[in-house]
């Protein structure tokens, strides 16, 4: 695995082609890193092979088929072995039947021969079963793994607008139960169709022996199917209801744990107990109903095959007395009744699994069919080294795509020179943060254009654009890895020395060094949580490590102590020549970082100038400043 950590490294041009072809996720291969998307982890498992069929008009099985087909070299032989094993199972009672008749009743053949046959067939069947089950599980979990990987790859491709509306709980349930239900159906349905083959063979064999006895013997078996369907029809909705009510109980408990202070404050203990009792009563009703449904069906389902055995015994026995069939036949039929109930039991199950898998597959497709709204053009080129000139040209933008969307940016125009520092100032909701999100192309503008060094951001690869932009927000997200890994997040595998240097600049080194595990402290582990200010400092270090040409601080020091902030500012000012900087400021102290202040109002530039100029000439500026955070009182 090549380490391509140095952004300006050797293979720059050689890999250009790879990052060019990112227009559709279907074309993107994830096996290696690129110049702008470094990889510092070795792929230890085979990448997923199959892909869902892109044609949305096809049925779900057809769309999933390529994923299964990718594993046909294991799957098809597995099915063949399963078929043979099932046929051997049909053979066994037939052999015992001959044994009873020929060796015991007629005493015309040697018993040993049959015993050996039983042993050989039985053991062979067990071996085959072992092998085909292994093959089946292997295929099943490969499909599972492929689906998981495809889903993750696709999710990583999706744009911010998807994550704005996404509920992570739903996505996770798709990645969990939906994938499982699809995988189960895809692998077990073919297997169960094998038992149908077995059924036909056994049934035909029985018919050749005695037609009426065969019909009488399997007479109760359709009842097993019918009752099974009825039971599931009732149990399924019930289990949804029970699950929902279990969740209600859990919600009440969860709320009482997390909201314990409120409950205690209002002395609402008894009220909450009654609420729980209410939820538990509903749960109890549904559970009892489930119990009763089982009680009505299960004993019947269990006893129907016994009814078959009884019919074979009485009618078959009568036939033996009448000398139409032999004792051995009686044994074989008894064995077949038990054997043949299996398809009746599983058939209904498979139909139901199929229904569920269809719904699950559609939910998975829903994600996989979501196109990233921000995607590279097919002819997008990498943005090589830049000077850092930024131009917003009549930008119009609104979030979402509903009818009620309101423009956040309304003909926003601004030019920022290379190396310049600009502060964006304005009331909450005036569009400051949106400006920088558009710059990094987290969203695409509705009208107008944004240019970096004269290149429209939509004409270059997003990865190369973002590689030049370092952005810190006010509530930075940290991952549950070590602090070192968090700081090196954009440069996986960076040297510890570089990590520490970035932390020192961001004034994070001091508090990190005091932790017992230092840079190896895992965020969130053992109750170790960082304060808001500490998180911001780690996020600043994370960004400084990437050595960006364009630095964006979106209220990035809001939770940091004023004195510490001063030191960070000093460090930033020292390197100010290296980057173009955009600061979104909620504090006077932050505005001081900038050469120029841009006052925003209602998605437009209202005024621009130095802090002094605006203070002197722009009453709206003074008004906005008066409302800024008073900062660091405590």
């Amino acid at each position: 695995m090549p380490r391509s950590l140095e952004p300006m490294g050797v293979a720059a041009d050689g890999r250009l082609g790879e990052s060019k072809s990112t227009s559709a996720s279907a074309n993107r291969e994830w096996s290696t890193g690129t110049r702008f998307e470094p990889v510092d982890v070795e792929r230890r498992f085979e990448p997923p092979r199959g892909k869902i069929h892109p044609d949305r008009t096809l049925g779900w099985i057809r769309r999933m088929l390529p994923i299964v087909a990718a594993h046909k070299w294991v799957f098809v032989p597995t099915l063949v072995l399963a078929l043979i094993a099932n046929l051997l199972q049909v053979l066994l009672p037939a052999v015992i039947r001959s044994g009873i008749d020929q060796a015991l009743t007629d005493r015309t053949a040697s018993l040993n021969r049959f015993v050996v046959m039983v042993l050989v067939i039985g053991v062979l069947r067990s071996l085959l079963t072992l092998v085909y089950r292994y093959g089946l599980y292997k295929t099943a979990f490969q499909i599972d793994s492929d689906l998981r990987n495809r889903l993750y790859e696709h999710l990583s491709e999706l744009s911010f607008d998807f994550y704005d509306r996404m509920q992570s709980g739903q996505v996770i349930s798709r990645a969990n139960s939906d994938i499982r239900s699809v995988q189960m159906f895809l692998t077990f349905a073919p297997l169960i169709s094998m038992t149908v083959v077995m059924f036909s063979v056994a049934f035909t064999f029985m018919l050749t022996i005695h037609v009426p006895l065969t019909l009488v013997a399997i007479l109760p078996l359709p009842g097993v199917y019918w009752l099974g369907v009825r039971l599931r029809n009732e149990l399924f909705p019930l289990s949804w209801i029970v699950q929902g009510r279990l969740a209600d109980v859990a919600t009440t408990v969860d709320e009482n744990i997390n909201g314990v202070r409120v409950v205690r404050s209002f002395a609402a203990e008894r009220q909450q107990i009654n609420q729980l009792a209410k939820a538990a009563t509903s749960l109890r009703w549904a559970s009892v109903r489930t119990v009763d449904t089982r009680a009505r069906h299960n004993p019947l389902i269990e006893n129907l095959p016994r009814l078959g055995t009884l019919l074979v015994l009485v009618y078959g026995g009568w036939l033996v007395i009448d000398e139409q069939v032999t004792e051995g036949t009686l044994f074989a039929f008894t064995a077949y009744v038990t054997l043949l109930q299996a398809p009746f039991r599983t058939l209904g199950m498979v139909l139901m699994l199929g229904q569920r898998a269809k719904a699950s597959a559609e939910r998975i497709f829903e994600i996989l069919d979501t196109e990233p709204s921000v995607a590279d053009r097919p002819d997008a080129a990498d943005l090589a080294d830049i000077d850092g000139a930024i131009e917003f040209d009549d930008v119009v933008f609104a979030y979402g795509n509903g009818s009620d969307r309101a423009d956040v940016l309304d003909r926003f125009s601004l030019r920022i020179e290379p190396g310049e520092s600009v502060a964006l100032v304005g009331r909450t909701g005036c569009g400051k943060s949106t400006v920088v999100r558009l710059l990094a192309r987290f969203y695409d503008v509705d009208q107008g254009a944004i240019r970096v060094d004269g290149h429209d951001v939509r004409d270059v690869t997003a990865a190369s654009l973002r590689a030049h932009i370092g952005m810190v927000t006010d509530e930075p997200f940290l991952f549950s890895t070590s602090l070192a890994d968090n700081i090196a997040y954009a440069r996986p595998g960076a040297e510890r020395g570089a990590v520490v240097a970035a932390a020192v600049e961001a004034q994070a080194d001091e508090f990190i060094a005091q932790l017992p595990d230092g840079y190896d402290t895992v965020v969130g582990e053992r109750g170790y949580t960082l304060s808001g200010g500490q998180r911001q400092r780690v996020a600043i270090a994370r960004t400084l490590l990437t050595d960006p040409r364009i630095l964006v601080l979106d209220d990035a020091t809001s939770a940091i102590d004023v004195h510490v902030e001063e030191r960070i500012h000093a460090a930033l000012t020292e390197r100010a020549a290296q980057w173009t900087m955009i600061v979104i400021a909620h504090r006077l102290s932050t505005i001081a970082l900038a050469d120029r202040v841009v006052l925003m109002e209602d998605g437009r530039v209202a005024a621009t100038g130095t802090h002094r100029e605006l203070m002197a000439n722009e009453p709206r500026y003074a008004e906005v400043l008066a409302h800024l955070d008073d900062g660091g009182a405590a």
């Binding site: 079963t129 993750y152 911010f160 399924f236 107990i273 009654n274 009485v314 004792e327 987290f442």
Partner: protein, 635 residues
Amino acid sequence: MSFGGPAGSPFGGPSASATSAAAGLPFAGMPSELAERAERILAQEPEHPDPDVAFSQSEYDRRPFTLRRFLGPHRLGLAGAAALVIVETVALQAGPLLTQIGLDRAILPRDATVLWWVGLAYLASIVVNLAASAARVSYTGRLGEKLMYELRVRVFSHFQRQSLDFYTEEKTGRLMTRMTSDIDALAALFQDGLVNLAVQGLTLVIITGVMFALSPTLAVVTLVVVLPGMLALTFWFKGASERGYGAVRDRIAAVLADLSESLAGMRVITATNRRRHNVIQHANIVGEHTVANVRASTVGAIYGPANEAIGVLGQAALLLVGGRMVLDGSLTVGELFAFLLYLTAFFAPIQQLVQLYNSYQQGQAAVVKLRQLLQTEPTVVEARDAFVLPPLEGRIEFEGVTFGYDREQSVLRDVNLVVEPGETLAVVGPTGAGKSTVAKLVTRFYDPDQGRILLDGHDVRDVTLHSLRHQLGVVPQEAFLFHGSIADNVAFGRPDATAEDIVDACRQVGLGDLIDRLGSGVDTPVHERGSSLSSGERQLLALARAFLAQPRVLILDEATSNLDLRSETVIERALDVVLEGRTAIVIAHRLATAMRADRIAVIDDGRVVELGTHAELVAAGGRYADMYATWSAHS
């Protein structure tokens, strides 16, 4: 959310309508034909009467929780269930024996009359098994649900007795499992475990007994050939599959944790160009999961066929030995037949018993954990002779209060403080100085180690917790919203409040715009712990909640610290309304909030270092004056 902008920005989260569509449906995600059936089932559900559970802070069953004590009151019922189990099992295992009789007495001697009788007896055994089994499932199921209901209420009630220190952050997950998986494990033990144990054990006894009665030689042959291998195999399987599935559980947890963290951090992943790295990293985690899965299922893939192979061995042995006995006339064909049938019936109970041992262990572990939980005594206990606190004037007094969350380190040291009725006292100081602790002691979330806290001259430890907290209103830093509507949340402290009261409270604190804007007004549900509301709105809801409860004393614990400016202005205005005529302690993060109070107490290092009005403290030139100077310089 990282780049999502401040909470409450109109662009941050999902649109309100989309969320309600997803969350509002009763059967979201259920296939439509199932939803119809579910509706039909629910239509049959009777109206459950409103529960009225007795609750006492100090009086409850303190005897250790054991399985015996838990099931004890239902001894008779369980005996009945056991009787049903016996009937059920005997009727079931009569089958092969009847087959044997049919063969030996009717079919081989060619006697059709006996055959009819055997058939009738067989039919009877089916009917009896059917009835007994249905009755047993229904009965034990109902009893189990009753027990689970009682246990849920009991455990939850004990949660409610516990003091705040019980709910430390690391514990919440484990507390949750007490009420969920532990009770489920107990339910499983009771409903499937105990009864099944009886059924399977009895089955083994009956089969072995019948086999020995039919032919001791053949019985010994069967047991010798089948039993050791089967037992060894089953114990191997149990151990190996437990280890295997333990690994699978860990791995799937890792997969989902990585996915969930990636989803939460996808904006950072995008911004830092980490996608390729993370895709491979995720593939590695998924790969580990797949390996664990294949490994665990291989255990199952071996177990089933190996068992069948042992069964075939048994069959072969029976045919060989039994066949010879038939040939020399020491065994009838019917008996051989019965042996072959019993051999098949022999496997299931042994396999199940080993599995049941598992569920028994889990159930026992759950019992132990529940016992520990139910024996946990709250640290803040109501005095036996606690009296109801009379309606408050609102005088609060700290008298030499020293307190620490753990023994070694005191957070407050010898604090003396008086808040007069109707006065607003702001408490300021650096983070960790003990400001919030002041609030927690007044509400008796904790008891002081030394000294006392008096309300209108009554020690808070002498009055009932209910009467104390009922007269105090607390607005915490993080406004916690319960699942339900805005109205439910506002009326939390006063469930009997009318709709007008609720709307009025909302308007008083400045939520009028919000409820006018929302389609269903105060009946609009708050989702996912209030994610569809901005943090300012949530804070205002918490304030409305306190306001509606009409407490005599109000405690604001950094209630305005997480707000943007516009919300803060609204809240400051609301506070003026709420504080009117009430005693209040305001734990303040921002000086702007503190300045509005009648008096200010500066706390540092667990002590009150300064106390006075804003003007006095500024004039005194101490700690507060410094803070004020820094603050003014930056604004």
